[in-house]
């Protein structure tokens, strides 16, 4: 029973955090600064989430660096998301053979 309560509270808080701004922000934001800020948020968030965490994502800095390099290279060439993501995994896996 206590477990159910934990799960309900957890899911409830997580949903409200997502829902409130999404439902109640109905108007276009006028402030140029704030619009610019929101334009940059996704890039900033993803960057902060990726660096340095990506180097800890495979259990070895070296294989992670290889996977990262493969991803950056292919992303720079403009390849689709799935290709880049798989290349990161492939780069990591292949680098593992050389350790």
């Amino acid at each position: 029973m206590r477990l159910a309560l934990y799960i309900i509270v957890m899911a409830g808080v997580t949903y409200l955090i997502r829902m409130i701004p999404f439902v109640f922000c109905r108007n276009k934001i006028k402030s140029r600064f704030f619009r610019s800020f929101l334009y940059y948020v996704p890039y900033a968030v993803l960057s902060a989430m990726t660096i340095p965490a990506i180097f800890y994502s495979t259990g070895s800095y070296i294989t992670a660096a290889a996977g990262t390099a493969a991803a950056v290279l292919l992303a720079y060439s403009g390849l689709p998301l799935i290709v880049v993501a798989l290349a990161a995994a492939a780069g990591t896996y292949i680098a593992g053979f050389f350790l």
Partner: protein, 233 residues
């Protein structure tokens, strides 16, 4: 592709594959913390978030208070508010209030990233397609990890661990190549994140991410305000 639901589902495939591997890890962790595979799967279905769930399981294992649960979920998931706000600025007219109530459930880092960097306004069906596929990956991965986590060789598990980040790179690199301001914002956020990781270690991971991202985006807005026509591009 004809309809928006399948287009969203198609664009969601890399997300689902990434989720499959990450949630696999969550499933293993949850079972190690004493939860049943069913409870782990229910948590994944109800929350659809990685960091928040991992912290939540820690609290359950430690028999923490509900207040602690609320605060931790609030802080770790606060970034979703920023994302929801940002996304709310580029929604299609068909995005009515009921659709917003429903689709809000699926605002994750990755779904937000893909939706928010699209040029045209986001349609409800597109988001639902993406959420459905991502949900399937997240919940399936959790169930598999919880039930059979130890069966996979470790080098494969490790290689799968980097996929989500690879996807993030695929999202941020092309615009950074085109726009100097985006590149600088990305570098600023990464730099701040590194500083928090190694120098200001008292700040927890969730907070560090929020501060780094907010500061970098604010600097970007201050020095490179976007023009009207470039908005949402």
């Amino acid at each position: 592709m004809k309809n928006w639901f399948s287009r969203g589902a198609y664009d969601g495939i890399p997300i689902a594959l990434g989720y499959l591997s990450v949630s696999f890890g969550f499933g293993i962790k949850a079972v190690q913390s004493g939860l049943s595979p069913l409870a782990a799967t229910v948590i994944s279905a109800a929350n659809l978030t990685s960091a928040g769930q991992a912290a939540g399981v820690d609290i359950i294992e430690a028999c923490g208070s509900l207040i602690e649960m609320i605060l931790v979920q609030f802080v770790i998931n606060l970034r979703y508010s920023l994302m929801a706000l940002s996304l709310s600025q580029n929604l299609d007219r068909g995005f009515s209030v009921p659709h917003r109530f429903a689709a809000a459930y699926g605002i994750t880092d990755e779904i937000f990233a893909v939706c928010s960097t699209r040029k045209e306004p986001v349609r409800p069906a597109y988001m639902y397609g993406m959420i459905a596929v991502a949900f399937a990956g997240w919940v399936t991965g959790t169930a598999l990890g919880a039930a059979a986590g130890q069966l996979l060789p470790s080098d494969i598990r490790n290689a799968l661990g980097i996929m989500l980040y690879g996807m993030f790179i695929a999202i941020i690199v092309p615009p950074a190549k085109k726009q100097l301001s985006v590149l600088l914002v990305i570098l600023a956020a990464a730099g701040l994140s590194v500083i928090f990781r190694y120098l200001i270690t008292a700040v927890s991971g969730g907070f560090a991410m929020i501060i780094s991202a907010v500061a970098a985006a604010a600097l970007g807005a201050l020095f490179f305000p976007v023009k009207e026509e470039a908005d949402g591009a």
